[in-house]
Every structure is written in structure tokens, then in C-alpha cells.
Amino acid sequence: MSLEHDPRYAVNLNELYKQVLMDHFARPRNKGRLDEADFTVHLENPTCGDTIEVQLKVRDGRVEDVRWQGHGCSISMASASMTTQAIKGKTLAEAAQFLSRCRAMIKGEPGDYKELGELQALSGVAKFPVRVKCATLAWNAVEEGLKRVQP
């Protein structure tokens, strides 16, 4: 099938760059460093050299606080902002479960992702395999941090 007739690869900018995503990009939440982090994870996107650092503070099996910093495109930065916002306050198990739902969504698995809240703004990324790596960079870092808490 020629590209012109393959809707899978059509770019709809407004679907990809949803308003909420651009808002997080313009006004990132939880950006910065913690004074006393329990776990610090540093990751890198081999496609473009973008980097991210995520810090977690865990109390009684819950993500008490989380901060991130890094350089990257709007999608990776917005993803870090939304993701840290979403897992703050969750138990470790809840956070891990939340991220595995995020992954299902970005793999394009059909289903209802309402519980992901703002993160649903990333569903448009599923169509772009290369950009998927941007969206998942922060998730990889958080998951790596959760693994270190409970190895």
C-alpha cells in the first residue's frame, strides 16, 4: 500500500501534540532535584542523546515525592512531567501497575485507558515507533527506580 493510502502513517499534529501535553511541556511539574532522594536514576535515549534523571523518595511503600530533570523534546519532557505527577502518592505496586497500563496504551493495545488521566494525551504517540522512545524514557527511569526500591 502506498503511503498516501495508508492511514496508519498520517501525521495529525493536533492529535500528537495534544493541548495538555504542550501545557506540561511549557510548564513542567516536579522539575528539579530533591534534597534527600532515596533513589536517583539517570537514563539516556540512544536515538537522540536526550537524557533524564528521576529521583524518588519512598516512605512506607509509597512514592512520597518525585522530581526529574533533563533535556529533550516536547514529548519526552511532557511525559516526565505528567508521569511524575501521576505516580506521586501511589503505592509502589500501584505505580508499577500504572506504568504497565501506560505501556499497553503506547503499544497500541486496544482498551479503555481512562484511568491514566492526563497520560492519555500520549496515546497519539503509539503510531510513531521512533517517538515512542521519547514518551517512554521517563517511564523507564521511574521503573528502574521502583525496581531498586524492591529488588
Binding site: L3, Y9, V130
Partner: protein, 411 residues
């Protein structure tokens, strides 16, 4: 499976060669391609050719998706647990060298042993000679019966706790013998050795499950299963691939590079340096689709070849008392090596070619097997695939009659 309909898909088979309809019996060397594969290649270049993994544009996204979908198809075809354990290489030879360089160089120490079968193709022998020379390890060879079947009873004599690597063909490209890989794997794992299987002549011809066989590595070539040239696959168990050093260095296989040092990308990309053969992967995926959808699965190929090879053995022996056929009578792939009286295989092949019949003549990259076991320098080899027919066998028999006649006159 309708062979006559399948033949319609292969434009090359409809040719006259030397004025006679082509009978192609050199399938163990390389197979012909159905138009579905040729069209997939054309479509790739006409519609979505791009470099993969790093291109944020529509062509690149589509090429990347096609490349990774091809990997998933390959993984399903050999029942690999996940696509990431299937590395795209040029051919079976490169896959085997990758294991020898990256795994062999890392684990082998002086005095360690590498155990091979005596019927290995040079591509599963020479890399181990090279790595043995560099590491001080030593090659040993399995005991075999003269027909090319493994002497399992005497295997424990050579498979010991000094054995670190066992490298065997799943099917011999000369004798057609199918080796008992499952039994070898069990015995090898019991002494802590890792098993490298050369699947060049098995994956295209019969169902192969890496999980059921529990092999540690499996290499094969796309061009021997109706895929394009320049693409092959190395399967490896994840825990082994992860522990291994990379093989080739370059773009795509890295995570991070500074002037001084680098860290490696995740599987499978850690082993895929530089621009991969996306066309080849797309073509191989089309070949797998062809096997699954048009042929109805690789088991149909196996049944069909079994019929052809049994028919050929019977016809050849009936027609020519001077023929000598090598390899086991049963449990063999669709490969038939033979000598024809005193005639040199080159001369046999040339006269067959003048009759439109293409076979192979030579040592088929198993020189030591020829010299030490078969005790001939070269053999003739006819090898079958899904598009061959009993009529092809009849044409071979007929053409061998011409060979006999020709050389009885001139020499």
C-alpha cells in the same frame, strides 16, 4: 499444497535453459523466489524505503515498523520466546561467526574444548578453528556411523566437562542426515556446555522450535528459504546475548558514546551495527508469509521433499547400478549426494546442465567430510524444494542417461 500452482509463482522456473525447460535442483545452495517476495522488495523501494530507528519522518516510521514486524515474524517462525532474541545478520555464516567471536572469545580458555560433528559445513567449522587458535581451546569431533548418523552411544567419550561449546548442523547439506539436536542439547547442558545449531538446512525445510529443542543459538539464511540474499538470522537465548560482548561496532548498536568509550544498546540492536538490510528483512518476512499462507506451513515442505527424495533414490538405483548414494536411507532432508561411476562430478554437472538440469558438483563446503569419511574428493548433489516435482526427478534420471552416453562415446 498444490505444487503446480506454486510453480506459477516462480518466474525463473518457466525458462528454457540450453533449449530445455529448467529443472532447478540446487536448492541447498540457494532457493528461487516467488513473485510475492520479488514484489515485496519492489514495493519497499517504490513506497517506503528509509533508514530505520532514527528517522522521525513518515518513510522512516514505516520502514522501522516493517523491519521490526519482520523480526516478529521470524521469531514466530522458529518459536522464539521474543523478537528481541532474533538478530538480523547477512547469512548463516555471519551468525555462526558472531557466536564464535562474541561468545567464543569471551568464554574459551586454554584446554577448553569445542565439540563439532564431522559433517559440518565450513561455516560451522572454520570459525571454531579460528577462535580455537586465538584462545588455546581445542576442537573435538563426535563419533558418527558411516552413513552420517550420530553414534550417540559413544558421545560421552568426547562430551565431557571440558566441553564448553557444542556446534552442530541440524541437517547435513551433503548427506541430508538430520541430527538428533534435542538429544545433543540435553547431553550438552548436562555437562554445562552451550549448543550452537547451524539451521541453514533445517529451518527452511521442516518445523523448528528453538524452545522445544532448547538450543542456545541457532543460525540460518533467508536466501535458502525463498527470501532475498543478504539477510539471515541468529537466534540466541536472552541471558547469553545479554552477557556477550558486542560483535561489530558502529551506529545503532550503542546507547551512549564518548570519545573514550561506549555503552551498548538493548537487544537485538546491540548486535546490529550500521544500516541494516531492511529490504532483506522485508523480503524474508514475505517469504515466511508465503510458506505459511500459500504453502500451508513448513511441514508441507518436509512431507513433499520426503516423497521426492525417496522417489529419487528408488529411480536412480533402478536406472543406474553404478550410482552411489551417500547418507542415511531414512530420516533425511531433501538432499541427495551421489557419485556416478568414475565420472568426475564437474563433468556430470556440465552435461546435465546442457540438458537443462541444474545440480551442484564439488565438496559442497564439507571438504573434511568428503576426504575423511566419504573418501571421495567431490560428489554430485541434487537438492529439492517446495516447487520441485516427480517430473523433475524423471528429467534428472533421463539426463543422467545422456551423461553416460556422452562419456562412453568421447572418452
Amino acid at each position: 499444497m498444490n505444487v503446480e500452482r506454486i510453480r506459477q509463482d516462480f518466474p525463473i522456473l518457466a525458462q528454457l535453459v540450453n533449449g530445455k525447460p529448467l529443472v532447478y535442483l540446487d536448492n541447498a545452495a540457494t532457493t528461487q523466489k516467488p513473485r510475492q517476495v520479488i514484489d515485496a522488495i519492489r514495493r519497499y523501494y517504490e513506497e517506503y524505503n528509509a533508514n530505520v530507528h532514527r528517522s522521525i519522518h513518515t518513510l522512516g516510521e514505516r520502514a522501522t515498523a516493517a523491519y521490526e514486524e519482520a523480526r516478529a515474524k521470524v521469531a514466530a517462525f522458529i518459536d522464539a520466546p521474543e523478537p528481541a532474541t532474533c538478530i538480523f545478520v547477512r547469512n548463516a555464516s555471519e551468525g555462526l561467526n558472531l557466536v564464535a567471536y562474541s561468545y567464543g572469545m569471551q568464554v574459551l580458555r586454554p584446554g577448553d574444548e569445542i565439540l563439532l560433528s564431522p559433517l559440518e559445513h565450513h561455516s560451522n567449522l572454520v570459525p571454531w578453528q579460528l577462535v580455537a587458535r586465538r584462545t588455546g581451546a581445542r576442537l573435538r569431533f563426535m563419533p558418527m556411523h558411516p552413513d552420517g548418523t550420530l553414534d550417540l552411544e559413544r558421545l560421552p567419550r568426547v562430551l565431557t566437562e571440558r566441553t564448553r561449546i557444542v556446534a552442530v548442523a541440524h541437517a547435513s547439506n551433503t548427506l541430508g542426515a538430520i541430527l538428533p539436536v534435542k538429544a545433543i542439547t540435553e547431553a550438552a547442558h548436562a555437562v554445562g556446555a552451550v549448543v550452537v545449531v547451524d539451521g541453514a538446512q533445517s529451518v527452511p525445510h521442516m518445523p523448528v522450535s528453538v524452545r522445544e529443542l532448547d538450543v542456545d543459538f541457532l543460525a540460518f539464511s533467508g536466501h535458502k528459504m525463498m527470501g532475498p540474499m543478504g539477510i539471515g538470522v541468529l537466534y540466541g537465548k536472552r541471558e547469553l546475548l545479554e552477557r556477550m560482548d558486542p560483535f561489530l561496532g558502529g551506529g545503532e548498536m550503542i546507547r551512549s558514546v564518548t570519545y573514550e568509550e561506549s555503552t551498548w544498546n538493548d537487544l537485538p540492536w546491540k548486535f546490529e551495527a550500521g544500516t541494516p538490510n531492511v529490504e532483506g528483512a522485508v523480503g524474508l518476512a514475505a517469504a515466511i508469509d508465503y510458506i505459511n499462507e500459500v504453502v500451508g506451513g513448513v511441514a508441507n515442505i518436509q512431507r513433499h521433499e520426503h516423497d521426492l527424495v525417496q522417489y529419487a533414490m528408488r529411480r536412480l538405483r533402478e536406472a543406474f547400478p553404478e550410482i552411489r548414494i551417500y547418507g542415511p536411507e531414512e530420516n533425511r532432508a531433501g538432499i541427495l549426494a551421489f557419485t556416478f561411476g568414475d565420472l568426475h562430478p564437474h563433468d556430470v554437472a556440465t552435461v546435465l546442465d546442457s540438458e537443462g538440469v541444474a545440480i551442484r558438483a564439488g565438496h559442497h563446503c564439507t571438504m573434511p567430510l568428503h576426504r575423511e569419511v566419504l573418501q571421495v574428493v567431490a560428489t554430485n548433489r541434487a537438492s529439492f524444494y517446495v516447487y520441485n516435482t516427480r517430473e523433475d526427478v524423471d528429467r534428472l534420471v533421463e539426463a543422467l542417461g545422456k551423461v553416460k552416453e556422452f562419456f562412453s562415446h568421447v572418452a
